[in-house]
């Protein structure tokens, strides 16, 4: 994006990877339920089409609302992924997003980051149940 950012990134990869825990971009990326869920799914699946990810997120929603998720619900999820969530996640280098192929791949993440993602999703589940 700019030189400063590139320099920052190089520095980030050069030092201990878990130092990402002090990276503001990580917390911006995690500041949304849908993004935390997308990351948790991708930590397991590694690579998914955007369509498959939208279906999983819609199904996840359905397990909470206890109603039938509609095609419109899934469409909204898909649009938000494409226009908001995936660009944010790609920007913070947690995933790589191939808009042309419509696929999303998790970037290699350090164990503390993976755990943070899992814990944030678990915490939400516990607070809602």
């Amino acid at each position: 994006m700019n030189e400063e950012r590139t320099a920052h990134d190089e520095l980030a990869t050069a030092i201990e990877p878990s130092s990402r825990l002090a990276d503001d971009a990580l917390y911006r990326a995690l500041a949304s339920t849908q993004r935390r869920r997308a990351l948790a799914i991708l930590c397991e699946e590694t690579e998914l089409t955007v369509e498959a990810l939208a279906t999983l997120l819609t199904g996840w929603d359905a397990t909470e609302t206890n109603t039938m998720a509609t095609p419109a619900d899934r469409e909204t999820t898909l649009i938000e992924l494409v226009h908001t969530h995936l660009p944010v996640l790609a920007e913070s280098e947690l995933v790589s997003y191939d808009a042309e192929e419509a696929t999303v791949t998790i970037e290699p993440l350090s164990q503390p980051v993976i755990e943070l993602i899992a814990k944030s999703v678990d915490a939400e589940r516990q607070s809602s149940s």
Partner: protein, 236 residues
């Protein structure tokens, strides 16, 4: 391909698919739907997702998703159907369509007759409307003449019998015969009743003779029933 033959292909390709996202063993839902007109598949549920769910697809696109726990409650008798005119979401409609459309993949002649009797009985009770039947050939119709004489004389039904003219059927009030001269109906056993103005009474049996029995569908789907009626009317 004749319009009748392509109609059967069409019915088969009105693809509905259920995909169960689960992490454990096969669910009761999967075996419950195995005899229905739907392909049932399963995928591994990522462990982050709190509970298993079902994705319903129709004609290749997403129609709905529902938690398995919710679905099980929905399918427990008595099954309460959402009112179809009540802006019901597509997922529910596809789900109940699937429940309504049972496929007899290896239907025996006796089952075919039993379903036929059901449809004739429904037409008899309604007493008006159009009933079109094709029993492959007129000679196959011969053992059923007395039943159709009762249908023709005791109701206001407009009855049409289609088939290959290999026998001369007797004249019956309200019954019109249509000889299938080019053999299109040679292997088809079809009944379709338009409900006599009541869509909820519409029904059709559409089956094709195979080497060892019949392959077909028994449906209440109004669109499908109307198409079967139209194709039969056109086939004469």
């Amino acid at each position: 391909m004749s319009p009748i033959a392509s109609l059967l292909d069409d019915i088969k390709s009105r693809t509905k698919a259920f995909v169960v996202y689960r992490s454990d063993d096969e669910t009761a839902i999967e075996s419950q739907f195995s005899s229905h007109n739907v392909s049932v598949d399963h995928r591994e549920l990522p462990s982050a997702v709190p509970a298993p769910f079902l994705v319903i697809e129709a004609d290749g696109s997403f129609a709905g998703a529902i938690a398995l726990s919710e679905l099980e409650g929905l399918l427990e008798p008595p099954i309460v159907r959402p009112d179809a005119d009540d802006g019901v979401s597509r997922g529910y409609r596809v789900l109940f369509d699937v429940l309504d459309e049972t496929v007899f993949t290896a239907m025996e002649r006796s089952q075919l007759l039993a379903v036929s009797r059901e449809i004739e009985d429904r037409a008899f009770r309604v007493g008006t409307g159009t009933l079109r039947v094709a029993f492959q050939s007129f000679s196959t119709f011969e053992p059923q003449v007395e039943l159709y004489r009762a249908l023709g004389t005791r109701t206001d039904l407009d009855i049409h019998i289609h088939g290959i003219a290999d026998w001369s059927p007797p004249e019956i009030p309200n019954v019109t015969y249509h000889s299938d001269t080019d053999g299109t109906l040679d292997r088809y056993w079809i009944l379709a009743f338009d409900g006599g103005g009541d869509k909820t009474q519409q029904c059709s049996l559409f089956s094709k003779a195979q080497r060892d029995g019949y392959d077909g569908v028994w449906t209440d789907d109004p669109d499908l029933v109307e198409r079967v009626l139209a194709e039969l009317a056109a086939a004469q």
